[in-house]
């Protein structure tokens, strides 16, 4: 009996390491993103995508080849490329008569499409059109969402989460105060127009500890129009948003804080012995001298016996 065909296992140590690094982890690495071109993207659509890629640079890949596919009809190519590059965010540029200057932004969960939102780029001013100093690559930007529509419209609500996911980069413990130099602002109106603007922060003296903020536009500046969307179902999204058990804070038992911030604790007392409870003293209940003598005698006898017992044991 020969050895049965083994189940596919990595042959090299390096391959094993790669596969291990791709396995799900409780604390995930920074989300990688890919940017690709669909059928005949226009100059503008391509430039918008390139600028988004520039903003996202250290954890992004720009795939310059054109791909003949329509993401909203068949997204297998995106899933495949995301698997290959181990990316979970993607941007696609395309152009057609029906949907001019089309940008599709989306994300995947477990290498399957989670959300996909189509935006039309109407007015566009590239980063290179602003002749000034840009921010450092890989810096964590501040994100601003202006307008009440971001919460009222379901599509925009998801788009807000998607934009946050795109530009949030990674969770950081601490941040350098002088390193806060980039702001991206997203303003949405009722008719589904989203104004993306990006600014560089100048910290000016204010006579106090907190500086006065001045902004300088560095681009890109795009006016997006919301088009088609393909959003994850509520249960899939919930599954994707699950926090692993290891990261959940352990709830402390019997502790609570009230509205004023006072810490309250609950203590468990043992059962009270009612028989030995000291009640009100009365002369009538007092022991007489005879009784007291007898009690003393009894105690002495008990002690003697205990001693005897001990001696015998020894």
């Amino acid at each position: 009996m020969g050895v049965i065909q083994r189940i596919k296992k990595p042959t090299t140590r390096k391959g094993k390491k790669v596969l291990l690094s791709r396995e799900p982890k409780p604390i995930e690495d920074t989300k990688q993103s890919i940017f690709l071109q669909a059928r005949n993207p226009s100059e503008r659509a391509r430039k918008v995508l390139k600028d988004l890629y520039d903003l996202k640079k250290p954890d992004a890949a720009y795939l310059s080849r054109k791909n003949d596919f329509v993401p909203f009809e068949d997204a297998t190519l995106i899933e495949k490329l995301c698997y290959k590059k181990d990316a979970s965010l993607f941007g696609v540029s395309s152009h057609s008569k029906k949907r001019p200057h089309n940008i599709i932004l989306g994300r995947t969960f477990n290498y399957g499409i989670l959300d996909m939102i189509e935006l039309g780029a109407e007015n566009f001013k590239a980063m290179s059109d602003f002749h000034n100093m840009k921010v450092l690559a890989g810096i964590k930007p501040c994100l601003l969402f202006n307008g009440p529509v971001w919460e009222l419209n379901q599509d925009l609500k998801r788009l807000k989460s998607l934009f946050t996911d795109f530009f949030y980069r990674e969770k950081v413990e601490s941040v350098r105060l002088q390193g806060l130099e980039h702001v991206i602002s997203f303003s949405a109106t009722d008719d589904g127009t989203i104004y993306l603007r990006s600014y560089r922060i100048h910290l000016k003296k204010s006579g106090q500890r907190t500086p006065r903020i001045e902004l300088e536009e560095i681009g890109p500046s795009v006016d997006f129009k919301l088009r088609r969307t393909k959003l994850a179902s509520a249960d899939l999204f919930k599954e994707a948003c699950r926090i692993p058990k290891e990261l959940k804070p352990i709830a402390k038992k019997n502790q609570s804080t009230d509205a004023f911030g006072t810490k309250l604790g609950r203590i468990h007392m043992g059962k009270q012995d009612i028989n030995r409870l000291q009640t009100r003293k009365m002369k009538g209940l007092k022991k007489s001298t005879e009784e007291k003598k007898q009690m003393l005698l009894k105690k002495k006898m008990a002690k003697k016996e205990a001693k005897k017992g001990n001696m015998l044991n020894a």
């Binding site: 049965i4 969960f109 105060l177």
Partner: protein, 353 residues
């Protein structure tokens, strides 16, 4: 008084020199300092947004105000000094973003690991090297140079007395080893199948040599006999036939393996179980089989009706009952299509041509 006024004036002048850091907002911003995110729920000025030349300026001023508010919050946080840079510790982010991969599941235990866990067996680490008395040197237990040491040691293998003297002991040893590897591999695959909850086909009786022994044959016979649709219930028995016993026989016959109940851990549990059993018996309600009850009722009605008919018949008979002869002999041929109709019974009737 003059000094105070002077100082106040100075301060005012200083304040005038700098622009303010406070921002007035109708509704307060929703801030998530952990992600450096600010969400302004105030209504936007649609008039300014519509006009092409004022839009950018409006958006910039809006962004400036909101950034100022966000940074004001950040500057309030406790600071630290690390390598000549002032650093603030950010709080936990409140916005929950979807993960890119699902939450990892714990690795399923193999059958051995499960057993070891239940029995409290811990793995003892072996040394890589072992002193070999025969070779008088340290020999690796596994891995690099182990095969060489083995070769050096086994330059000659004695053929035992009970074995055919012509056997190749080296070949035997190699085949034993390869069998062990195969078994291990099979168990690995079984563990994988178990963890993925895949039903694997039962492996039949292992054939070790070309001639099977008596016990193997009897097991094979028992298994073959049980391989009918009724699990061998109606198969004839041979005289003096013995039921094969031993490990692995019952597993091959479906329905033979009995599940044993776990022993009851505490007397309280036992008491509870017994009480539950009594309750179950005492609170039993008669089960009603609706179909059976309905068919019973219908049957009863039918019997009643037929009885009534029987009792009615003599009254209906006109003059023919005179003779007292109940049987009806008449010259006429019986005709079809008369009498009670039964839709289920096909009445052939008279043939029509």
């Amino acid at each position: 008084m003059d000094i105070v006024n002077e100082i106040l004036e100075k301060e005012q002048k200083k304040a005038e020199k700098y622009k303010p850091i406070t921002v007035e907002k109708h509704l307060e911003l929703e801030l998530d300092v952990g992600t450096l995110l600010a969400f302004d729920t105030n209504d936007l000025d649609t008039k300014l947004l519509k006009s092409d030349n004022q839009r950018d300026a409006y958006l910039q001023s809006l962004a400036r105000d909101n950034t100022q508010l966000l940074l004001n919050k950040i500057w309030e946080l406790p600071t630290e000094r690390i390598d000549e840079a002032i650093v603030v510790k950010l709080p936990q982010p409140t916005t929950v973003l979807p993960r890119s991969k699902p939450v990892p599941k714990p690795k399923p235990l193999t059958k051995w690991q499960e057993f070891a866990k239940a029995k409290g067996i811990t793995k003892q680490k072996k040394d890589k090297l072992k002193w070999d008395e025969q070779l008088q040197k340290w020999v690796p237990l596994y891995g690099f140079r182990k095969a060489a040491a083995e070769k050096e040691k086994d330059w000659l293998i004695e053929v035992p007395q009970n074995v055919d003297p012509m056997t190749d002991m080296y070949e035997k040893k190699a085949s034993e080893k390869s069998e062990k590897v195969a078994k291990n591999e099979l168990q690995r695959l079984k563990n994988i199948a178990r963890s993925r909850k895949v039903n694997i086909p039962r492996v039949g009786l292992p054939v070790t040599s070309d001639k099977a022994n008596a016990t193997q044959l009897s097991t094979a016979a028992v298994v073959a006999k049980a391989s009918t649709a009724s699990l061998g219930k109606f198969q004839d028995k041979l005289p003096k036939e013995k039921e094969a016993r031993g490990k692995g026989v019952h597993e091959l016959i479906p329905g033979k393996v009995r599940k044993r109940n776990a022993p009851i851990p505490t007397p309280q549990m036992e008491r509870e179980n017994n009480l539950n059993l009594i309750d179950r018996i005492l609170n039993k309600r008669p089960k009603i089989d609706m179909d059976k009850a309905v068919s019973k009722h219908i049957h009863k009605e039918q019997v009643q009706r037929s009885e009534e008919k029987k009792s009615m018949k003599p009254v209906k008979g006109k003059g023919k009952a005179k003779g007292g002869n109940v049987t009806n002999f008449s010259a006429k041929k019986p005709k079809a299509g008369k009498g009670q109709r039964n839709p289920n019974k096909k009445n052939p009737g008279r043939k029509r041509r």
